[in-house]
Structure formats: C-alpha cells, structure tokens
Amino acid sequence: MNARERRIDRLRTLVLLLYPAGLRHRYGPEIRALLEDSPTPVRDLADVARTGARERVAAALSPRPPRHRPLRDRLPYRVWRWSVALTAMIAALAAPWALSGTAPWAAPAAGIAIGLMFTYREAAKRRPALTLVLMTLTLHVPPYVPKALSDATARTPDVIVTIVFGVALTLVVPLLRRRPGHRTPMAAGVVAVLALPPAATALFASMGGLARPWSSYWLAMSSPASGALTYYPALYTCCAFVLLAAAAAEARRAPGGHVTAPGESSPPPAGAPA
C-alpha cells in the first residue's frame, strides 16, 4: 500500500467514524468493502459521510439507552476486545510472581472465569484469532490453581496443561477452517505457538553452554520437581498472543480476509453473493 492509498484508507476510516459505534460495528466492514471497490470514490465517500452524520445526529437525538444495557454494547468493540485480551494477558503473566508469595488464589480463579467467559462468547461469534488467544489464557492459568492451593512445586500440572493445550489447539483448527482467509496464517500461528517455547528454551540453553540444547525443554518438562520453571505458561501466553495477533493481521491482508472493524483494510469483494 503506497502513501496515497494509505491516505485514502485513512479517509475511509475517518468517514466511517461518523457512524455511531453500534452501526459502525454492524455495517462498517460491508460499507468499507464497497468504498474500497467504488468506481466513484469521491461521490461514495461523500455519501457515506452524509449518511453517517445523519445517523450520528439521529442517535444523539434518540432517547438514551436504558441503564442496564450491557457495558460491551456501550464501548467501541475494538477497545473492549483488546482491553479484555490485554487484561487477561497481564493477569496470566503476573500470576507466577504473585503466586510465589502468599498465593492469592483469587487471581487465577478470576483469570479462568474471564478466559472461559470470553472464549465462549467469542467462539459463538466465530472469531478464531481471539478465541485462540483467550483459550490459550484459559488453559495456562489453571496450573497455578493447584500450586496456589497446595504450595506444590512439581511440574506435573504444567505437563498436563501442555498436553491439553496441544489437544485444544487441534480441536480449534476446524473452527479456523470456516474462515478461508484465516486458514493458512492461523495454522502457521498454531504451529509456531507450539514450536516457539521449545525453540526459546533451546536458545537459552545453548547460551548457557548446555550440551544438548534442543532436548532441554523436554527434559525440563519431564522433570518431577522444578519450581524454577513456572515461567513456561507465561512464555506460552506471550508467544500465543504475539503470534496470533500477527497471524490475524496477515489474514486480513489475505484474499477474502475478515475485517472486524473500520480502519483495517482488506481487498474488495467480488460481485456475486456467497
């Protein structure tokens, strides 16, 4: 995308921002797709700007929503989504340090609840990238619960959860297949998530001068007692988060890629209905 195209894309985003958040979330990707393929871009931008401004004014003049309206509906979707994901990630990263002291079991319990709730909600919306991130968080927080409750240092829970993690990722792949644009990059993301922790461990081990760095990850994971390695789940979480974000961005650039909110570009639609 050259500088001119970037400017036009920014302009599309700005024009779509005129719409109230609810309408933008609901129809924004479709309107953006039409704008991107418009034979009369200036006229269509003006049309969208005029309509968006009218909708904004109409929404401002309409009666206020009831107070019990869910928070999710009042926040811009992207802010909500990333806030939840970042909060869950920070909670997961903070857990090893927090639990090495007085074991505040409420933190992992809250992490599990949040992860399960949003994994379920996002899975229902078929957003595989976010589903995978949240599922990762959900799977990596539970090992801290038995540690918190029993003050155990054995690696058994980590090993179990790693196996569960692998199985869960396998189960998620069919979900990804529903989105052609996501398939290849997301599959690459899944493989990378599984491969990166052993690779990172091998790197650390080789820097430390160990004889067989590539086996160090598996040796550590099979060790019956190794309280110093509780960073693995956090490492997994970080890797999953970064890789899946990159994979989702890549998927949006792929033909037929999915755009969840204005501001994220992707190719124009073809003429025939799906």
Binding site: Y27, E30, A49, P273, A274
Partner: protein
C-alpha cells in the same frame, strides 16, 4: 409500516427489496443490480441506510456467513408481502396516471 414512512430511504428501500426479490445478494451485488435497474448506482451509505431500516422492520434478513464484508441479505416472508403490496400500489398509481394522460 409502509415504505413511504422511511423518509429519504423509502426509494432506496424499495429498490433493495426489488433487488432481493430474485434471491439473496450482498451489498456489492445489490449496487450492481440497482444500477442496472435504474441507471444510478446507490452510494454505500444510502444503500446500507436502507438495508438497516429494512432489517429493523423485519423485511429483510442477513444470511449467516463467516465473511462480515460480504454478508448476503434475503427477503423475509413479510418483506415479500410488503414488496408485493407496494408494487401493486405503484402499478395502480402508474395505471391511473397513464390513463389520465391518454384521455387529456
């Protein structure tokens, strides 16, 4: 609720209903179809302003799809009935107008 109550969106709404009369279409296909029908391509804002109102009225419904950029819409039974009534009303108006022109 009659389409005429949709204000500036009443004509685009009627055209959207006509466009969907022969099967589901997404926005881009609707634009093409309406352009072929009327000689004027509706802008995306106008098109989706009409789509939203028709959806709110339960006259059209989106198809379940994974691609949020190309969501096809189709007429509901109620929308089909409303379109039928609206077209018959227009035919009656056109018939009256043509008859008066012929006799003037």
């Amino acid at each position: 609720m009659a389409l005429s109550e949709l204000g500036r969106f009443s004509e685009p709404a009627l055209l959207v209903l006509i466009s969907l009369a022969d099967g589901p279409k997404h926005g881009y296909a609707m634009q093409d179809d309406i352009a072929a029908l009327t000689g004027g391509r509706p802008g995306p804002g106008t098109l989706y302003g009409a789509v939203r109102r028709l959806e709110d009225l339960g006259l059209i419904t989106p198809h379940e799809t994974d691609d949020s950029r190309r969501r096809p819409y189709e007429l509901t039974p109620r929308g089909r009935g409303q379109l039928q009534a609206e077209l018959e009303r227009l035919r009656s108006v056109a018939h009256t107008g043509l008859r008066r022109l012929a006799t003037a």
